[in-house]
Symmetry: D2
Subunit: 242 residues, 4 copies
Amino acid sequence: MRILVFNENHHELTRPGIAARFPLGIHGTLAAALRERFGADAEITTATQDQPGYGLGPEELDRTDVLVWWSHLLHAEMDDGTVARLRSRVLAGMGLVVLHSGAGSKLFTALMGTSCDRRWRHGEDRQLVWTVKPGHPIAAGVPNPLVIPHDEMYGEPFDLPDPDELVFISWFSGGEVLRSGACYHRGAGKIFYFSPGDQECPVYHQPEVQHVIANAVRWAAPSAPVASPYVDAQSPEGWWAR
Amino acid sequence: MRILVFNENHHELTRPGIAARFPLGIHGTLAAALRERFGADAEITTATQDQPGYGLGPEELDRTDVLVWWSHLLHAEMDDGTVARLRSRVLAGMGLVVLHSGAGSKLFTALMGTSCDRRWRHGEDRQLVWTVKPGHPIAAGVPNPLVIPHDEMYGEPFDLPDPDELVFISWFSGGEVLRSGACYHRGAGKIFYFSPGDQECPVYHQPEVQHVIANAVRWAAPSAPVASPYVDAQSPEGWWAR
Amino acid sequence: MRILVFNENHHELTRPGIAARFPLGIHGTLAAALRERFGADAEITTATQDQPGYGLGPEELDRTDVLVWWSHLLHAEMDDGTVARLRSRVLAGMGLVVLHSGAGSKLFTALMGTSCDRRWRHGEDRQLVWTVKPGHPIAAGVPNPLVIPHDEMYGEPFDLPDPDELVFISWFSGGEVLRSGACYHRGAGKIFYFSPGDQECPVYHQPEVQHVIANAVRWAAPSAPVASPYVDAQSPEGWWAR
Amino acid sequence: MRILVFNENHHELTRPGIAARFPLGIHGTLAAALRERFGADAEITTATQDQPGYGLGPEELDRTDVLVWWSHLLHAEMDDGTVARLRSRVLAGMGLVVLHSGAGSKLFTALMGTSCDRRWRHGEDRQLVWTVKPGHPIAAGVPNPLVIPHDEMYGEPFDLPDPDELVFISWFSGGEVLRSGACYHRGAGKIFYFSPGDQECPVYHQPEVQHVIANAVRWAAPSAPVASPYVDAQSPEGWWAR
């Protein structure tokens, strides 16, 4: 399996406190966590928005099975052509794991069809991530609840389409709830959105959170070579009907 | 519209504190609340498990469009024939609104297929009912969040099938969450489960809660005469295919 | 209710045979059918792609409750700003009924997130539209099956997200099937896709087809004023949790 | 993996023509097909309704990961206690693959909550099984369409709950369609219903049909030991919220 971890990498380059929290960047932190869990079973690389072509050129994409995505402030700056290429690759079967503020990215909103708007609050709410579908592979081995001592609050109403499968719901100490782990199928691709994690909190250093992301990568991985099984094609009179 | 409110009516007859909290019984409290909201648009009657045939005889059922259901301790005592008749009526199009501990009734579990087990805690948690589908008719006019000052806690994991539409998620001060307002279609019938409300708390006296139940009754009402559109029938070679 | 019927109107202006089949245009045909069914209950207007701003300017949109959509060859020519405005209006609650080849429009694919690609075949298949959800309001009064003597074939696999509710499945004499009537919720808006109908066949003159479209308009109509109930907003520490 | 194939085995014992078509019984035919495909990866046994305890005693169940089910005429004769035990095992995570007329079994209807009634026609319709979700593991390697030269017709409306995932839709030469491959989650268990196959037709000898059933068994297999992750239990005030 080939996993590509994308990160906007803007906070890390511009704010020393965040660079100190994530010396490898959020991308490097997640890549290391996945390497630890997948070992030789996966080839794991990273891409950042400050690279040429965001590190998301056709070559990189063509060899990616699952794309892990973190972005926040630079959504509008990503060019539409790249987004269209990424979206096509997902529809053709590439898995996609979108984290936290990546909900507002062009890529995720283009795949969802909705605004993905939600309430939010800086600060350090306690977040409890409850598994509501305990048989789901993304919940395997996850404590119930998963306790995140400090995190940004994201709250309902969250403008998502009804999930195809809802795995997690989060509780926040400030009084809010969120559908925080949601599965979607788009074309032949599987998409998982997972809300925990902020640049201001060390959430991605937490082993249980890393474990969920690794589960999600496994779940989202394509079971067949990435190539759209859909066609917009004229069909002959069917021999099969005779 | 003809609405029948069913209540087990066991607590009211056996525990003075609960009888004092609900002098009309939970059934009478809910019936009065619905009468206030529906006025001349609905005929509202009640039935209790202590009545002959539980007040749910064929005659009563045949003239019911929406059944509102509260039960708790006497689930096992209801005879299977009555449950089968109720279930058939729902599949034929009668609306069903199941409240709180009614989740464990034979009728609801027979329609869901699952155990409907969940965590719970006596005591007086604060419950915040968040609307996650703000365009849904059952959420119309409901404050977001709806605050219930004291209620029993019901918590995830809740063994329900994935809802056809999820309208509410509840937050509890003790740290739990619950899918607390969920829509299902079974046969031609519409079913809404709403978790707030306990015999120990005055939740059914709260106007916002009554408002949700009235919305749910309107949503669940059949749009056509109650008669199953499904058949188990031999079909002739289709004229329509020629 | 204010209904706006949009039509690309390209075939009618460029091909005499199609103009003869639809002397009022597809838009005029549908508008007349809806007027007959809604009478004084709705104000029905039309818009065509050849008009300035496609007839879909902010003023027109602001007073539209349900948009009925037909398009085919000029998808790529519609400017992205208009599409973004239309999409926002749907997410805010405007109903949308998309017909036939409109599946490939920028608006519909932007709301679905998928390519909406499918198989197709010119010619004149017999199409039988089967109701699979007989209690659904869009199926009310629709014969089962609804027989369309001649229509273009659209066949699976159809690259749609899993429908929130699947109402119709079509059978084609050439051997194909299609999920031909599918409901979606996006933001506060309700969307219905209905596949029958082609410029080459008189499908939109058929009363049962017009009846389905009228049912769909009624179903998709917003129950509250069109205004998004979602926000991307900072939330104060919740008073409700205390 | 331990797979148990259950068959009513009534036709085989009472009608020579059917015994000649399935010399091993439908159970033996399916078991042989699965053995060929799973090899040493699975232990495959069979059970029939004429055996003591139907061959479905607690011991047999306790070591079953996936149950494959065929039944037809003797649904009413199975005792409710056995059905309750089977249902509990599914809710605890045992996979279930229900074939054809098994839709009407007590077990399947108890898990679905609906009547599972449908149209049907003896005779020998041509059936084309179309994959509508090409990325789904149950569709892997399945021709699209899968052509079944002769089969009994099962047609819509089919009184099923909305599937959690719809994989196949069938076309019949007589003009009907059917949601013929549908996935459900109930508790921790995964359930697949697959409609092709009748005692009167050699459908279960067809390699493509056997391939689908093997795919379904793999999909339905539990990913964790079979033990319900749900509880009906009093919960302490949560340490996690502090």
